[in-house]
Each structure stands twice: as C-alpha cells, then as structure tokens.
C-alpha cells in the first residue's frame, strides 16, 4: 500500500518531470518536443541532457542553488534559536496550560499561508507597523528598509516554519523524565550544565526532526522570497517559477526541479534515518 502511494504521488510525477527535462523547448502545446505523439521510439531517441548542460553554463542557476542552501540553512538555525526556548517553556509550563499553548502554536495554520505572508508586507514595509512603532519610540529617525531584503525573507521563513520546529522539540522535551535533571544536579551539575548534558542530548531527535522539517521546505521556498524578498534575493524556487511561467521553458524548469530534488534527497534520507533510529530506541 505505501508503495502504491509512493508510485502514484511521487514516482510517476517525477518520471514525467524528468522526461520533460530531457526534451527540447518548442512553440507548441505542450511547449516541448518530442512527445508521445511522435511515437515511443522517436520520443526516446529525441531525449538528451542538453538542459542539464545548460544549467552548468549559466552561473545564475548554481548561484541560486547555493543562495537557497544558504538561506535555508541560516533560517533553519534562526528558527531553532527561536523555537527551542519556546518549546522548552511549553514543556515546563503547568500541565493545565499546555493544551492551550499547543493550540496557540498551531493557531496560525487556521489562516491562509499567503495572507499571513502578505501581512508581513504590511508590517515590514517603509510605512509599515514596525517602522511606525520604532519611529514613535524614537529609536530610529528614518524608516528602515526591511521589506524586499534577505532579512525579510529570513523573518518570513522563521515565522512560517516555527511550528514545525517547536512541535517535535516540544514532544521530545515533554517525554523527558523530570527526575533526570534532578539526578544530574544531585550528581554535581549546575542547572546550566544539567541542561547541556542531559536536556539537550535527550531532545536531540526533536531538534534534528525540527531542523529537517524547516530546512526541506525552506530550500524550495517560492512564495516568501517572491513576496518579501527583493531583486537581490536569489532562491531556486523563484528561478523555477520564472522559468515555467515567465519564460515558458518547461524543459529547463524541469531540469531545475530535478536537480533541486536530488539536492533534497540527501536531507530527506537523513531525516528518515533519524526517525527510524528514534523509533528503534523507543522500543
């Protein structure tokens, strides 16, 4: 059953995209040749790796990949820095508050993702709430330019993916036996040392899961960089979108997608391994 699922929802679409990536651009519907109309044999012989070669020739593509990796990496790190204390505070909160706190973490999902990102435009723009507030406080005298910079993209990604970081870390911390910390203190650890030697290692699996859950979607993110990022924000998701819809170059866009997938396979496999190990350890 899981294999049928995998076949229908992943392998078949992937095969289609892969095939397109090996085709040539054409002014037709669909906008590439050869297609199955030309006969199976003609179609197969007409395929080549031209588009992949093209990706290496124009430095826009590998720069976009690298920049995406960088942005995804740093925003994952920032999300962890924001998310861990929140998860920790939730796990330490009185029992009767925890369902409410969990609810509050999940609450943003009740609104459309697009609207929430648009809201940040209103907050971060030159005349936005944030600048208005800082001007009123007298901290700054001229509005800060945050919107359409990488900073805005980081803020957007951290905001959007924070629940994906908090939930696995919270569940790891929640499961932890409180007497372990007491035992560490009893054996001579200060509070901080006990946190570092016991709490952090025991929430490791939660941290890893959270990081992958943020990193993987952030890498291919399109909406956040196109709404909050500027012309200088280079992310592969944006490039992919432009190839498809602005250039209508489906074969190149497909090649970009295939490479992105290959890059993502590494963290996905690592994530799966982590989940598996965790499941085994709990047995």
């Amino acid at each position: 059953m899981p294999y049928v699922w995998l076949l229908a929802l992943f392998l078949i679409p992937f095969a289609v995209v892969f095939k397109i990536s090996l085709s040539d651009i054409a002014l037709a519907i669909p906008p590439y040749t050869p297609t199955a109309k030309d006969g199976i044999w003609n179609m197969l012989t007409g395929l080549d790796f031209e588009n992949f070669v093209f990706l290496t020739e124009d430095d826009l593509y590998w720069k976009a990949y690298l920049s995406s990796l960088q942005i995804a990496f740093f925003s994952t790190f920032l999300t962890l820095c924001v998310g861990y204390p929140m998860a920790y505070a939730m796990a330490r909160a009185p029992e009767q508050w925890r369902p409410t706190l969990l609810m509050l973490v999940i609450l943003p999902f009740w609104t459309s993702f697009l609207i929430r990102v648009y809201a940040w435009v209103g907050i971060l723009s030159g005349e936005g709430f944030l600048n208005q507030f800082l001007l009123w406080l007298g901290v700054i005298s001229t509005p800060l330019t945050i919107l359409n910079t990488n900073t805005a993209v980081y803020i957007g990604i951290v905001y959007t993916y924070l629940p994906f970081m908090i939930l696995p870390i919270y569940s790891a911390l929640d499961r932890m036996d409180g007497s372990l910390i007491e035992a560490a203190e009893d054996l001579g650890c200060s509070r901080l040392k006990a946190f570092w030697l016991v709490t952090v290692p025991l929430s490791k699996n939660g941290i890893i899961a959270g990081c992958f859950l943020v990193f993987i979607p952030a890498l291919g993110e399109f909406v956040i960089p196109s709404l909050l990022g500027g012309s200088g924000t280079l992310m592969i998701g944006k490039v992919l979108f432009e190839e498809f819809f602005s250039n209508r170059d489906w074969p190149v866009a497909s090649a970009v997608a295939v490479i992105l997938l290959l890059i993502l396979i590494v963290p996905i496999v690592l994530f799966q391994r982590n989940e598996q190990r965790q499941a085994e350890a709990e047995k």
Binding site: A183, D186, L187, G188, L197, V198, A281
Partner: protein, 440 residues
C-alpha cells in the same frame, strides 16, 4: 540487632550526622512536614516508613536539596544545609524511577558524577570499575540502560549514586519496581553494600517488611509527623500508638476500659460488677401507682424483692478457674459486657479508668479446639475465615460479641490433616504479656 554494639542512638556522646530540628514544610495550604525533630547517626541504615502522602518523600527531597524547609533547620554533620543547592551537597540520591540517563552507557552513567568533580581519567576509570564490581555489573558496562533488566538498572542507579562516596545516600523506594523474589535478594544486597561502604543510608519506603528487613532504625510517619522512631524489634513488639501497631504487621485491636488489678490474686472484678442484690425491674412512681391501683387486686401485691436474672454461669466458672493461677499486677481491660475482661500483666496500673486498646499480634494468639489449660486469656469463638499463606495460616475468629480476632499458627501438618476448619467452635488464647496496651 538492638543488642549488638551498633546503637549510636542510645549513646549520648554520639553526634548525629543529620539533625532535623523543628522542621516544617508547607506547600501552599498543605503541611507536608509538621514540626519534625529527628536525629540520624553515621553508618545507620535509617528507614522512613509510612503510607503515601505522609511526607517521607518530602523529607528525603529536603535532605537532597530539592526542597527547602519552610521553617526549622536541617543539619548535616553539624552544618545547616538550608539553601545549599543539591550539586553542592555531599549527599546523593537514588531515584525511585532510577533516573538513569538513557543516552549514556552504564559506564558513563556511573562516571557522570565523578566527571563533574575531577578530570583525572585514570582515577575515574578506577572508581567506575570498583563500582561495577561492587554491584556485579562488569558485563554490562557498555550497554545502554534500556538494554538491561529492571534489577540491573536498580544496581546501576545504586552504583551511580555511590560512586561519589557520599556522606549520606538517599534511597527513594529503591525496590519498588522489582518483583517480590528479586526484591528480597536485593534487600540483602543493599544491606551488604551498606556494610561494605559504611555509608549512611536513608531509605524511603511504604513497604513495612522492607523497612524492617534492612533498617537499623525505622521512623513510622503519618501526616507529616513521626509517630515512632525505634529499632524494628521495638516498633513491632512495643509500638507506642495504635497507628504504629496497625501500620506495622498484622494486628487485632480491642478497645476497652482499663482497671488496675489488685496485687493479690482474687476473684475478678467482673464478679463484683454483678450487683450483690438481685437485679430486676425497678418501676418508677407511675408504675408503682399503676400496680397498686390496677394490678394489685388481680395479681396480688407488688413484690419488693426484685426477680433475679439467671447468673451467667459459664463465664463465672471460667473466671474463677482463670483467677486461680494468674500472677498479680497489670490491668484488666473491660471491653464488653458478656465476656471476661482481658488481662495484660505488664501494663501500667496507672492506666486505671482510662480508655485503652489492646494490640494483639496474630502469631502470639493460640488457637485450639478445647480450652487450653493455664491460659491467662482465653475466649471462645467461631472460625470465619482461614488465610492460607503456605508456611502459616491466619484464622479469623469471631467472638461472641461480634469482635474479630486473628490467630496465626505454623502449618506443621498438611492442610488435609488440619484439625480446625471453617465454622468450628474454637478457643483463642494468649499469655498475659502477649498484647501491647496502648492508651487511646
């Protein structure tokens, strides 16, 4: 054991290792520990025994440093330890859940505390090996806690808490998670290790058998107060309250009024209780008037001499038989109208007239088909229940007044040949010193 050399609590010269002085601990409105004063001496194996919620765990957590007393002082080796954080105390604790670090191997778990205070790798390794040997865990050093059995985990927890050679080791229900058989062997192991290391152990338990087995002294607690602190023998043989008597072991409690016994043996006082004048109806004025006016013509004049009730002949003969060869002194306990009083020879005659409870251990109560010769206390009853424990049987005997009394005998014969069975009329008997008289 109390008679052996080790009894520092009887020696006024000895300085206690731990002193609780008027310690009170409150959590909001709830008083967990109520004005508690207690001394624990070096090398003791001290048990805190009580039902859950009696404050014993709070006491232990105050010793470990996880809680601070609301008022009063706790001294460790003469120094007030209030406010000293747990990581700065020469006290280690073995947690009820063992609290082994799941991400570390057994070896690293034991080394955990040592690494915090020294960086001498060779010394740490030596100490860990020593602990592994002491707890017979050498083979499992490289395993993770989830890869070993419950009993082994218990030993790892013990090794880890002993590794730093604390002045005081606290054990919070250390054997609670083990099955009965393993618990028994582990109890002896614990005593053995305590003797070998010479560490002062304080154990918290709700299992009275466990406390009696391992401890040099037991403190029985209830609702934040210590009811009695004494050696296991004294706790069992001479409880100071009905609470302690009832909590420790099996017991029958009979309430009654104490009456000092005369010095010379004489007819029991119950005989005197029977009024010398025969008892009968004693009509009031209206009754007399009615009789004289209405009934006298019919049934004759009212008899001033009241009609006599038949004397309780059986108990009378029993009492006179009893009183012949019973030593003098002690008290009688009058507990019901239709039974002879119970005799406690070693009780204080000053209790005369007060309400008392006689605590009787079932193993000190004999059970026979016929009335035993020369028994100081003997009562007749019916066997209601028999609890067969293998080596012992406990008989629940209902006396004439509805009081249940427990008697225990060793099963020296096979059950099939047991001569007493359900619904049998039996005699329960005990000596004049078998029971403990507690004032209520």
């Amino acid at each position: 054991m109390a008679e052996t050399a080790f009894a520092p609590w009887d020696d006024p010269e000895q300085k206690p290792l731990i002193r609780f002085r008027n310690v009170t601990k409150r959590f909001g409105d709830f008083t967990a520990i109520d004005d508690l004063t207690l001394d624990i001496f070096e090398r003791e194996f001290f048990a805190l025994l009580g039902p859950s919620g009696c404050g014993k765990t709070t006491m232990m957590r105050m010793l470990a440093g996880f809680e601070n007393p609301t008022s009063g002082a706790i001294e460790l080796a003469g120094q007030d330890i209030a406010g000293v954080p747990p990581n700065k105390r020469a006290v280690n604790m073995m947690f009820q859940s063992y609290a082994l670090f799941p991400h570390l191997s057994i070896w690293d778990n034991i080394a955990f505390g040592l690494r915090r205070e020294s960086s001498d790798k060779a010394a740490i390794a030596n100490r860990v090996e020593e602990m592994l040997k002491l707890t017979r865990l050498e083979k499992f050093a490289r395993r993770k806690p989830h890869q070993i059995s419950g009993g082994q985990r218990q030993r790892v927890a013990l090794a880890r808490s002993l590794a730093k050679a604390p002045k005081l080791l606290l054990l919070d229900e250390p054997l609670g998670a083990l099955d009965a058989k393993l618990r028994e062997t582990t109890q002896f192991e614990l005593m053995d290790i305590q003797e070998k290391t010479g560490t002062t152990f304080v154990i918290v338990t709700h299992d009275q058998e466990e406390a009696m087995t391992v401890a040099s002294r037991v403190a029985v607690m209830d609702e934040g107060r210590v009811m009695q602190v004494a050696t296991p023998q004294r706790i069992y043989e001479a409880p100071n309250s009905t609470y302690v008597a009832d909590f420790i072991g099996d017991v029958t409690l009979i309430e009654g009024t104490a009456r000092a016994r005369a010095q010379a043996p004489e007819a029991p006082d119950t005989a005197a209780q029977q009024p010398s004048a025969p008892r009968g109806p004693s009509p009031n004025a209206l009754g007399i008037w009615l009789h004289d006016k209405v009934l006298a013509p019919v049934i004759g004049a009212r008899a001033d001499i009241q009609r006599q009730l038949p004397p309780p002949d059986q108990s009378d003969t029993k009492l006179s038989a009893l009183s012949k060869d019973i030593p003098e002194g002690g008290i009688d306990i009058v507990w019901t109208d239709d039974q002879p009083p119970l005799i406690a020879l070693d009780a204080d005659a000053a209790l005369d007239g007060t309400q008392v409870t006689l605590a009787l251990r079932p193993e000190k109560v004999g059970i026979t088909k016929t009335r035993p010769e020369g028994a100081v206390n003997a009562l007749k009853g019916t066997v209601i229940d028999i609890a067969y424990l293998g080596n012992l049987s406990t008989y629940h005997v209902e006396l004439a007044g509805g009081v249940m009394i427990k008697a225990q005998t060793a099963n020296t014969r096979r059950v099939a040949r047991r001569e007493i069975t359900w619904e049998d009329e039996v005699w329960v008997s005990w000596s004049g010193t078998a029971g403990v008289v507690l004032s209520t």
